[in-house]
């Protein structure tokens, strides 16, 4: 029995190709049409892959035809940039995918959930049998080990999550924090939502246009503060998110200094995501004030991504160990079954037990 993987991903294909092949193909059809013993379809926004186990070789073109949702398309499946991995290469590829090493954003953990879901769908429909069971269970284990023993998931890689991480490094528990959103833009809304999702109970919104402030307040259960009185809120709040379209800074060091003196033992975290900036850079010099603009947040996100990339070598080492072990265990399993049956077909229960 051979394990194989045929697919395309963000490395090889553009969005158009991923959309074209990432339809709602029924894995049963593949089993019927290609003669695969087992098959599993992993389709995400960045990859479409079929994992299979078969006695005879299933051609890449057959898989591409099966995945092609636009049958009448003038583009032929032959021209699509499919890759193919067999046996050990297939095992290594899946382990890399599940661990987030192969992801567009290195170390993202969403792929593991998607792989688990794909496996569950294939298992419940009967498309995934003992071979894929063993392969995927091991992949989930490898992913967990990579996450535990490397820093590949460390650090936030988007502006919103960087802001939330920094807030947590300043305040610890965000359940006692008060946040003021100044300017009801899209990024500030996303950041505010991310903070609320981490437990911020007190959200206030202030905007020149009262209507947009009302809209955002309804979406995030925030309290609306009149734009004229927002500076008074600085005495109470812990986090200020600014994203107004003002051409001149709304907050200067001179304006903020008296307020900071009043709240000397409480830090103030200012997230200025406006362009041009709403807060004078000199504000960061005030004691207990931590000012981050969009450039610094993006730079931290890039830094985190670079740190994650540095962890790839350590992750690959763990993956290589598991690939070798998996190969050995498969060989052992096959030699045992060859001794007992003419057609090797390992029962799912026995494989699960041996895996455990």
């Amino acid at each position: 029995m051979n394990l194989f993987c045929v697919g395309l991903s963000h490395h090889t294909a553009d969005v158009e190709a991923l959309e074209r092949f990432g339809g709602s193909a029924e894995i049963d059809c593949l089993l019927r049409s290609s003669g695969c013993a087992e098959a599993l379809l992993l389709a995400t926004c960045n990859r479409v892959e079929v994992y299979g186990a078969s006695e005879a070789r299933v051609s890449t073109l057959d898989i591409a035809r099966f995945l092609d949702r636009k049958i009448d398309s003038h583009i032929s499946p032959e021209s699509a940039p499919f890759y193919r991995y067999e046996d050990a290469q297939c095992v290594r590829h899946l382990f890399r995918v599940a661990s987030g090493v192969d992801s567009m954003v290195v170390g993202e953990t969403e792929i593991l959930g998607q792989a688990k879901k794909a496996y569950e769908v294939a298992r419940s429909s009967g498309a995934a049998g003992p071979y894929l069971h063993r392969l995927f269970q091991r992949a989930f284990r490898v992913a967990k080990q990579v996450r535990t023993h490397t820093d590949i998931t460390r650090g936030a890689v988007s502006v919103g999550s960087v802001a939330v991480d920094l807030a947590q490094k300043i305040f610890g528990d965000l359940r006692d924090c008060k946040v003021l959103v100044l300017g009801a833009g899209e990024t500030s809304e996303k950041t505010a939502r991310a903070l609320v999702s981490r437990g911020v109970p007190d959200l206030r919104v202030s905007n020149r246009s009262g209507e947009r402030a009302e809209n955002l307040s309804q979406l995030t259960a925030a309290r609306v503060v009149p734009f004229e009185t927002w500076p008074n809120e600085c005495r109470e709040i812990d986090i200020l998110i600014t994203s107004t379209s003002s051409e001149v800074p709304l907050l200067s060091r001179e304006k903020l200094a008296p307020t900071v003196r009043e709240r000397i033992d409480r830090p103030l975290f200012i997230i200025d995501i406006a362009v041009p900036r709403n807060v004078d850079a000199a504000v960061n010099d005030l004691e207990g004030v931590y000012l981050y603009d969009i450039d610094s947040l993006q730079s931290i996100a890039e830094q985190s991504l670079a740190m994650r990339r540095e962890q790839i070598a350590a992750a690959e080492e763990i993956i290589s160990q598991h690939v070798a072990e998996f190969e050995q265990s498969m060989a052992r399993g096959l030699s045992r079954t060859k001794g007992t049956t003419e057609h090797p077909m390992v029962s799912e229960g026995s494989l699960r037990a041996s895996e455990l």
Partner: protein, 263 residues
């Protein structure tokens, strides 16, 4: 025999430092309890050393500068073992170990372990006074360590240059809460030690009394400043470092004068 215990204990603390340095250089720090167990085992060996010394002397083993330094190192480790996990400051082990190593290496190398010619008579009040004061030093030392951690974390947040250590250090507010509590613990224990000093029944050198009261005033001012919000958290953290450095210097003076006044 007892010095060997101390050497092995120092090696344990060194292991905690080496483990952290290797992990941080590799960009990874896992709170795998290694530091906690390394410091914990080092602490057990320190306790064994002090116990053997105590039995040999027939009193609390703080009769010369060597024993005092080891007792301070033991107090630091004691507070780490008790307070460290409670405040989830897993990295404090890495910050605690260098201070303990510094103290113990100094004690082991410097010729300061002078045995007393005559066996000192036991004086429970004196022993209580000295031991309480030194345990308070342990709390002040850990507050100083938390202060260093606070300043490291604060600087990274201010300059926007986040190093690998940033992700492993506790949040600023948690560190500041730990500093405040440690200062209070140290201050209360030190006050108890100071008060008990008036009941020892022996005349103490005036310089010793002045130094001891000086340390008490120093920490009282830091706490008062914190309470009345004269100082920002960053200043309190810096003052913890300054305060402990000053207290350690004064301790030297206290121990030195105490040694010259005992037979």
């Amino acid at each position: 025999m007892d010095r060997y215990l101390l050497i092995v204990s120092t090696v344990c603390f060194l292991a905690a430092i080496a483990h952290t340095v290797v992990q941080l250089r590799g960009g990874i720090f896992r709170p795998v309890r290694f530091n906690f167990f390394a410091v914990g085992f080092g602490f057990i060996l320190q306790t064994a050393f002090l116990s053997i010394r105590g039995h040999a002397l027939g009193r609390c083993p703080i009769t010369n500068l060597f024993e005092v330094v080891i007792f301070v190192a033991w107090s630091v480790a004691l507070f780490y073992v008790v307070v460290g996990p409670a405040y989830r400051l897993s990295l404090t082990g890495a910050f605690t170990a260098p201070l303990v190593v510094l103290l113990q290496v100094f004690a082991l190398i410097a010729p300061i372990d002078h045995p007393h010619r005559a066996k000192l008579p036991a004086n429970p009040w004196l022993e209580f006074h000295a031991s309480m004061s030194l345990v308070a030093y342990g709390a002040f030392a850990l507050a100083c360590i938390a202060g260093v951690m606070y300043l490291v974390q604060e600087r990274q947040l201010k300059t926007h240059h986040l190093h690998s250590i940033f992700f492993h250090l506790p949040p600023l507010t948690d560190l500041f809460a730990a500093i405040t509590r440690l200062l209070w613990w140290g201050f209360v224990l030190y006050t108890l030690g100071l008060i008990s000093g008036f009941f020892v029944g022996e005349p103490l050198p005036w310089i010793q009394i002045v130094c001891a009261i000086g340390v008490w005033i120093l920490y009282a001012l830091i706490l008062q400043g914190r309470y009345l919000r004269w100082f920002a958290p960053k200043r309190v953290a810096a003052l913890c470092i300054v305060g402990f450095s000053a207290a350690l210097t004064l301790l030297w003076g206290i121990t030195f004068t105490a040694q010259t006044h005992t037979p």
